[in-house]
């Protein structure tokens, strides 16, 4: 399988602080990969680096969109990264709070549609058709995520779990090749986590998507991911299948502290 995302020795410095140190990572198409590590290990910084919100100090991020050529994405604008086919959710939910649930998803169709100012003013048939297509496609995605009954509500009035799902729906609306989920199960109860797990499998299988996720819920990580990368203090300390990781001494040390291992 060809790699969708290929990160070579990426480092990120904030002044004198090295938040990421030569992180190497690869996601192949159709794969679910998890990135784990204690708080402050640099996981979200890594996400911000590959989606170009930050420009990495060193190293390269290569991305191969579905049916496209291998492209270097570090240093280009974040919206172009999304247009290429990388969509993400945020750890601290970043919905467009005062807009309706449907509109939240509709905004994400922005980079897949093209009507401009003149089109908006004249409202030609082509523009109206596109608008209809945006509404239909967005609603379809809401239905897919089981959110359609909320479509008229304001995003900020949604229950917490539904807000997380709405973030995923919004990311899916950009038609990504690679979906990046930043702690999708944070704050969810066991039932919600279970249904989220099925959702992730469903998205991967039905939409032919590679998924990279950051997660703290170990039972979810172990059961969902094909491969796991472990970070600590900005460095990658281990990678491999869930079984390999769960028996890796360095990982146990990082998670449980010195004594547990000794």
């Amino acid at each position: 399988m060809k790699p969708v995302l290929d990160v070579t020795a990426v480092s990120m410095n904030f002044g004198g602080l090295r938040a990421l140190n030569e992180v190497q990572l690869e996601v192949r198409s159709g794969e679910i990969v998890a990135l784990i590590g204690p708080n402050g290990a640099g996981k979200t910084t890594f996400f911000n680096c590959i989606t170009s919100i930050y420009t990495p100090t060193e190293g390269e991020v290569w991305f191969t969109p579905r049916g496209g050529a291998r492209t270097k994405v570090n240093g280009i604008k974040p919206n172009l990264v999304t247009a290429l086919g990388m969509a993400r959710t945020f750890q601290n939910i970043r919905l467009f709070k005062n807009m309706s649930v449907l509109e939240n998803v509709m905004i994400a169709r922005h980079c897949r549609t093209k009507s401009g100012i003149l089109g908006a003013l004249l409202r030609s048939p082509a523009v109206r058709r596109e608008e209809k297509e945006i509404v239909d496609r967005s609603y379809e995605l809401l239905k897919y995520m089981g959110l359609n009954k909320f479509y008229k509500e304001l995003a900020c009035n949604l229950p917490y779990g539904a807000q997380r799902r709405l973030e995923i729906a919004r990311a899916l609306a950009t038609e990504p090749t690679l979906l990046l989920l930043d702690e999708p199960a944070a704050g969810m109860n066991p039932q919600e986590t279970e249904s989220l797990k099925h959702m992730v499998f469903k998205i991967r299988d039905e939409m032919d998507m590679a998924i990279l996720l950051i997660e703290h819920d170990m039972s979810m990580v172990m059961s969902i991911s094909e491969r796991i990368y472990v970070m600590e203090y900005g460095c990658l300390i281990a990678s491999g299948t869930p079984t390999e990781i769960s028996s890796d001494p360095r990982v146990i040390k990082a998670y449980l502290g010195e004594e547990a291992h000794a």
Binding site: T82, A87, L95, M99, S100, C111, E130
Partner: protein
């Protein structure tokens, strides 16, 4: 009893505060001090009564807030009526007819007031795109108004260009200036952006004031021709009515254009920018492009309005485009309801028409203005008519909405 005590303390406090200005008066001619105790009594009684009214209003507001917080939707009769399309359409038609016939029924003076009302509607709607929809606090709108007005005046003076050529050009120049301003302020938000745009407004005004060789400096430009009407010489009153119709047409075009923009793909991108810049970029929206667009789309209308303003007054000078003007336009948007077109229209009616018709109280205008603003912020911070997002309808027979009812 407790209430009475509170009000008593309030009135005591106000009597103490206003004592130096309301009670003591030094008669410098006879060198005696006049003690006007009757004023103190009046303030005492007045604040005693008002404090009751105030507490009642606050309680009422808190009660309604509690209702809103408990998630219950209030659908009053007004809201229901507003959703009836045949009613709103006939209302719109009624207003249109009303506006069309008014200039023939009222004096030139009244027509003039209506013209300035409509100009402020256009200005407010333009600013609403930037402040209300895109969420960028913008305090230099008068600068673009000035750019529009001076475009016409200067193009006419130096190149003899007529009104109809200058009208689109004024809009284009204002939009270009808006775009030029957008680039240096791309990273700024909120207060910082407000300060820079305020500065820009002053720069434009000072330039106009000091480039005396070109713009005539503080004495401005006079003898700007009124718009021509098929080479027919119109009397001042008729020309005024003609301008009224032009500005009415512009206002209607603005209303339609701005509301269409708001509901379009571009408009949604602008709203996303207001809500969350990082998420907006992560969803594939070009932050720079959208911000520049917001500035251009907002300032162009000020340019159009400026050209008409110059044609209407036939004389312009920098004093017409001070910071006060920007503040008024921003107040119109905030008072009316950010992001709401109907709100802006109502807001400009409030802030432009009321002061005109309450000329008798013009000495107290600023006090009333300030009081109105403070009361608005306390009791209705979302504006007279809060913006309502567009509601989309979808065809889905299986859908059961969250409140249990079937999809309408």
């Amino acid at each position: 009893m407790n209430e009475l005590r509170k009000s008593f303390l309030v009135s005591l406090w106000f009597m103490f505060l206003t004592f130096p200005i309301m009670v003591i008066r030094v008669n410098t001619v006879e060198k005696i001090v006049v003690w006007r105790w009757e004023n103190m009594a009046m303030i005492g009684i007045g604040s005693f009564v008002l404090s009751f009214v105030w507490r009642w209003a606050i309680r009422r507001k808190e009660a309604s807030d509690a209702v809103a917080a408990s998630g219950q939707k209030k659908t009053g009769r007004m809201a229901e009526l507003a959703e009836n399309p045949s009613l709103t359409n006939s209302l719109k038609a009624l207003f249109l007819v009303g506006f069309l016939v008014t200039p023939w029924l009222v004096t030139t003076y009244q027509t003039n007031i209506l013209i300035s009302f409509l100009l402020y509607v256009v200005l407010g709607l333009g600013l609403n795109v930037i402040v209300g929809v895109a969420g960028l606090l913008f305090l230099g709108h008068a600068a673009f108004y000035a750019i529009g007005a001076y475009s016409y005046a200067l193009l006419n003076q130096y190149f003899g260009l007529g009104f109809w050529f200058a009208l689109p050009l004024g809009g284009v120049f204002a939009a270009l200036a808006g775009i030029a301003l957008a680039f240096p302020v791309l990273r700024l938000r909120g207060d910082y952006l407000a300060i820079v745009t305020l500065g820009f407004g002053e720069i434009v005004r000072l330039l106009l004031e000091n480039l005396s060789d070109i713009t005539g400096g503080p004495s401005g430009i006079s003898n700007i021709p009124r718009p021509g009407f098929f080479d027919i010489k119109l009397s001042v009153a008729d020309a005024n009515i003609y301008i009224y119709y032009i500005v009415l047409a512009l206002a209607i075009i603005t209303i339609i254009a701005v509301s269409r923009l708001k509901d379009s793909r571009i408009g949604r991108a602008l709203q996303a920018l207001r809500e969350d810049e990082v998420a907006c970029e992560a969803m594939g929206i070009d932050r720079v492009g959208v911000k520049v667009m917001a500035f251009g789309l907002g300032t162009a209308w000020a340019g159009f309005a400026g050209v008409i303003f110059a044609a209407k007054t036939t004389f312009i000078n920098p004093a017409s485009f001070t910071f006060f003007e920007s503040a008024i336009i921003l107040s119109i948007v905030v008072l009316g309801g950010m992001g709401s077109n109907l709100g802006v229209i109502l807001g400009s009616a409030f802030l432009v028409l009321l002061p005109e018709y309450l000329r008798a109280f013009s000495e107290y205008r600023m006090i009333m203005f300030a009081t109105a603003m403070v009361l608005m912020m306390v009791f209705r911070p979302q504006g007279l008519i809060p913006a309502k997002g567009r509601t989309y309808t979808v065809d889905d027979p299986d859908l059961v909405t969250a409140d249990g009812g079937a999809n309408k």
